[in-house]
């Protein structure tokens, strides 16, 4: 067994614990969102294997463009690579809302915010497992011990929450009419593209390796601030549930 699997298990354990704790302490009646943490787990595997991979492969086959991304790559192909994940992943993360167990959380305006957060974090946890599987297939990582994968752990934990915030932003608009739904979805896709842009720009030779994580951190910061803005709107529209209060005077 390669060392990535114990680190992946630890990542998923910490990520799930943090997700459950934040849903419980941050939202209104938060434990009702816990079951949604299961729904998004297989979606990363499905969208990568059934949609993104075949689509990019089909483009490469039909156009004859080089599959590797480097300074000589065509700009349209770099843009395709950059936008494929944001477009399809942000859509697929909303897919569980077709199920009644998730759909009932869209009953009120803004109520999709926390359900979206749970579904997005669930997708992120599944993606951590899928990426660990990919790493385990690479010969150069076969003999690497677990403790050298701490970079994977920290990056994946950040991305679990980023996926959560992005899906929360997109889902918050679902019960507010199609204009707001499309706007929020485009915001989520744009922030997702920003998060992924560092690695693409580095491959194109436009930014040095040291700056690869900078767009990801910027995307997380903007996503947190926008999520906080939406959370306040949700709070103003949602009656408080089961908050025990003892008023002395």
């Amino acid at each position: 067994m390669t060392g990535i699997y114990p680190m992946a298990a630890l990542t998923m354990l910490i990520g799930a614990a943090c997700a459950m704790a934040y849903l419980a302490t941050g939202s209104n009646g938060g434990r009702k969102y816990w079951p949604l943490l299961l729904l998004g787990l297989p979606l990363s595997f499905l969208v990568n294997r059934l949609v993104k991979g075949p689509l990019i492969q089909a483009v490469i086959t039909s156009t004859g463009v080089s599959p590797s991304l480097n300074a000589d790559s065509l700009l349209w192909f770099a843009l395709l690579v950059l936008m494929t994940a944001p477009f399809f992943e942000e859509l697929v993360k909303l897919l569980p809302f077709v199920l009644p167990v998730a759909r009932r959380h869209l009953a009120q305006p803004w109520s999709g915010l926390w359900a979206g957060l749970a579904l997005g974090m669930s997708f992120g946890l599944g993606e951590a497992a899928y990426i660990a599987y990919g790493i385990s297939q690479a010969p150069e990582y076969q003999s690497m011990p677990s403790h050298l994968f701490t970079g994977y752990l920290f990056e994946r934990l950040m991305v679990v929450f980023l996926h959560g915030f992005l899906t929360a932003i997109a889902a918050a608009g679902l019960a507010l009419g199609w204009r707001r739904a499309i706007f929020n979805l485009l915001v989520a896709m744009g922030l997702h593209a920003l998060a992924n842009s560092g690695i693409v720009l580095n491959h194109l030779g436009w930014i040095p390796l040291a700056w690869v994580q900078a767009p990801l951190l910027l995307a997380i910061l903007v996503a947190v601030l926008y999520f906080e803005h939406l959370r306040r709107r949700e709070l103003a529209h949602t009656p408080s549930e089961d908050v025990p209060e003892k008023v002395y005077f």
């Binding site: 941050g26 939202s27 906080e228 709070l235 002395y248």
Partner: protein, 169 residues
């Protein structure tokens, strides 16, 4: 009247704070030692020193944990955390007191499991000046003309009764 001193409810907040500080210190010293022994140079010294500084601050704050107390004078309630924090609340400005659980916000603040200090933004009630041994659960909120204060006295009923006796509310 003689000032009455109320202690906060016990918590492991000092352990959370000190533990984070200890881990940061040990981690940074280990990186420093390994780079010196491997002779890889000290080009990244400033982030290590920053980590040492943050770790030391955390331990410094944790060391004052036992000094947290609430002192009730004739006309003032003082919330004290060593030399680091001292909120004076004139009793005449107190509009109400209530205990409730608070909702977490992601905005940055000095709020850890078992400890909340200084101004903390919460998801439901907004900004609260905290001096408490809990971050979210069972916070006694003191509503004043100049905002909210959050405390966790061990003898909550006793503190509220003493405040009401002095204010006549």
């Amino acid at each position: 009247m003689t000032p009455i001193v109320f202690k906060p409810r016990p918590s492991s907040g000092w352990l959370t704070l000190g533990g984070i500080g200890f881990v940061l210190l040990v981690y940074s010293v280990a990186i420093l030692a390994s780079s010196i022994s491997a002779n890889t140079g000290l080009g990244f010294l400033w982030p290590i020193l920053l980590m040492v500084g943050i770790g030391a601050v955390f331990i410094f704050i944790a060391a004052w944990f036992p000094t947290m107390r609430y002192v009730l004078y004739d006309d003032t309630l003082e919330l004290i955390y060593g030399p680091l924090l001292r909120y004076k609340i004139p009793l005449a400005e107190i509009r109400g007191m209530r205990r409730r659980d608070l909702r977490m916000s992601l905005l940055s603040s000095m709020r850890l499991p078992g400890l909340a200090l200084f101004e903390v933004t919460y998801g439901d009630v907004g900004k609260v000046k905290m001096c408490s041994t809990a971050a979210l659960k069972g916070i006694l909120l003191i509503e004043t003309e100049h905002g909210l204060y959050g405390i966790t006295p061990a003898d909550e009923e006793g503190l509220v009764a003493a405040v009401r006796a002095r204010t006549g509310k």
